[in-house]
């Protein structure tokens, strides 16, 4: 597993997402209310660019007509067929055992840690005084 520095924190404010390719794999990194999530940008169903879909909440119900809406902004809905995936786990709602999108840990690290390595900062110049978004891949 390699760790990849993908952006200074300031470039990924809450509500934003960044698409990139790491080792040939399409990855998307999300900032949801200050929390960072990484997903493979490929739907396990038919290969759509999953992470271009809207981030919605999770609708559930214990009684018909009564809807509980939770996990606001934490469910990615595939733009092709509407399948829902939990961005924390990558699990699909409709068939969690068979369909799951690869989820990658994303952390924020201070530049002081990063300049020591062994992190990979392929395209970024890392400065000691900033914080960076790091993906484990």
């Amino acid at each position: 597993m390699a760790r990849h520095v993908i952006a200074p924190v300031d470039e990924l404010p809450p509500g934003s997402r960044k698409f990139l390719e790491i080792d040939g794999r399409p990855i998307a990194v999300f900032n949801v209310k200050g929390e960072f999530f990484g997903l493979l940008n490929r739907c396990p169903h038919q290969g759509a660019a999953l992470c271009e879909g809207p981030l919605i909440g999770l609708a559930s119900s214990s009684d018909p007509g009564e809807i509980e809406y939770t996990k606001l902004g934490e469910i990615i809905r595939c733009p092709w067929h509407g399948w829902e995936f939990d961005i924390r786990t990558g699990q699909s709602y409709c068939d969690p055992r068979r369909f799951r999108v690869r989820a990658y840990p994303v952390n924020v690290e201070p530049g002081t840690n990063l300049v020591k390595g062994p992190y990979v900062a392929e395209t970024l110049k890392v400065a000691v005084e900033s914080d960076y978004v790091v993906v484990d891949l």
């Binding site: 119900s61 009684d63 409709c94 068939d95």
Partner: protein, 358 residues
């Protein structure tokens, strides 16, 4: 052919009301006079025109009178012939067609009392379905409560084509009452003719009505599942009667596919539709719309992923098969036993209740 085994449960028998006047003894004075003075004679819908081949097997057609109107014929041709232990009577009489809910209520009560007296009292093997005036929920529930006291009533009967999709919450008090009394809801082919019998308008020919029954069942299954009837009533069983079942796997492929994409519109559907069908929905055997090759049929059963969905039925006196070939070719002995005995008993808990009369 596959031989039937003795002790089976025939889940779809149709005793015929000879004439509306046959119900007069079971109406109150007011309705008896109304029927008589208005000159009402019979309630025949176009679902089963008397002379249509589907309405009666030729060798079951009596010399005079309606097919299925003589209990001796039904005993000999259906019960004795197939060694039936229990036979469930589903009267198809046009009481659902009338638009007055008060008249419908009077006719339903008369029909249910007629069934108890003229059929259930005369053969211990017979069980009945409660016909309800669906247009009035209150009256329908009251009729279920009234008839459920007689344990020989084992089911509530509705038509697949009524006024509205059956999943609508409007109907739920009916389902609550049925669940409370351990009565499955039987949904039988046929229309109240309050809507066109196809979803695209009125056709020209009887075959269009009859074939369209299968589409109506699919639409109703979708409605029942997505409206959440089985989320609210997890113990309620519904039995599709004379629905055909060979359409089930491809229908479920389609429903499942779209559920995966838009299930957030109906989040109470928290299981795949196939799982809901497996736990709550059953189908009567006849008609079998498959080609006669046993491989084809067994592949279909594989697709259904369950051997618990089908319940034995002759659909007497309707013409769905000839001779004794009530079971399609190629069924394993294990599956025959499930279809004829185990599955019906698991579906109708009141079949074997001892105390028989209220």
């Amino acid at each position: 052919m596959t031989s039937p085994i003795a002790g089976g449960v025939d889940c779809d028998l149709h005793p015929a009301v000879p004439h509306l006047t046959s119900l007069l003894p079971y109406m109150n004075d007011y309705w008896r006079d109304q029927v008589t003075t208005r000159g009402m004679t019979d309630l025949i819908s176009q679902s089963y025109p008397v002379n249509s081949p589907i309405s009666s097997r030729p060798d079951w057609r009596p010399v005079k009178g309606k097919p299925g109107s003589d209990i001796a014929d039904l005993q000999r041709q259906a019960l004795d012939r197939f060694g039936t232990a229990y036979g469930i009577c589903n009267p198809l009489y046009g009481v659902q067609m009338v638009f007055s809910e008060d008249m419908a209520n009077a006719f339903c009560r008369a029909l249910n009392d007629w069934l108890a007296k003229e059929w259930l009292d005369k053969d211990e093997r017979l069980r009945g379905s409660i016909v309800i005036p669906v247009q009035s929920i209150e009256k329908a529930v009251a009729e279920i409560e009234r008839c459920a006291a007689d344990k020989r009533f084992v089911q509530v009967l509705m038509l697949v084509m009524g006024d509205m999709p059956l999943g609508k919450r409007h109907y739920w008090p009916i389902y609550a009452a049925a669940e409370r009394f351990g009565l499955p809801i039987g949904i039988h082919a046929g229309s109240a003719y309050h809507n066109p019998p196809t979803s695209v308008g009125w056709g020209s020919y009887h075959i269009e009505d009859y074939v369209a029954q299968a589409q109506a069942f699919q639409t109703q299954l979708t409605s029942l599942i997505v409206e959440g009837v089985f989320a609210r009533h997890p113990n309620l069983k519904m039995v599709m009667l004379e629905s055909g079942f060979t359409w089930l796997p491809p229908f479920l492929w389609r429903l499942h596919k779209f559920w995966r994409g838009v299930r957030m519109e109906t989040p109470w559907v928290d299981r795949a539709p196939l799982e809901i069908v497996r736990s709550n929905i059953r189908f009567s055997l006849q008609p079998v719309d498959a080609p006669p090759e046993s491989d084809t049929l067994n592949r279909l059963f594989d697709h259904m992923q369950s051997d618990e969905l089908i319940l034995f039925s002759t659909d007497y006196p309707h013409w769905q098969f000839d001779g004794d070939e009530v079971l399609p070719k190629g069924l394993s002995p294990d599956l025959v036993r499930k279809i004829m005995i185990d599955n019906p008993h698991a579906t109708y808990p009141r079949l074997t209740v001892k105390e028989m009369t209220p």
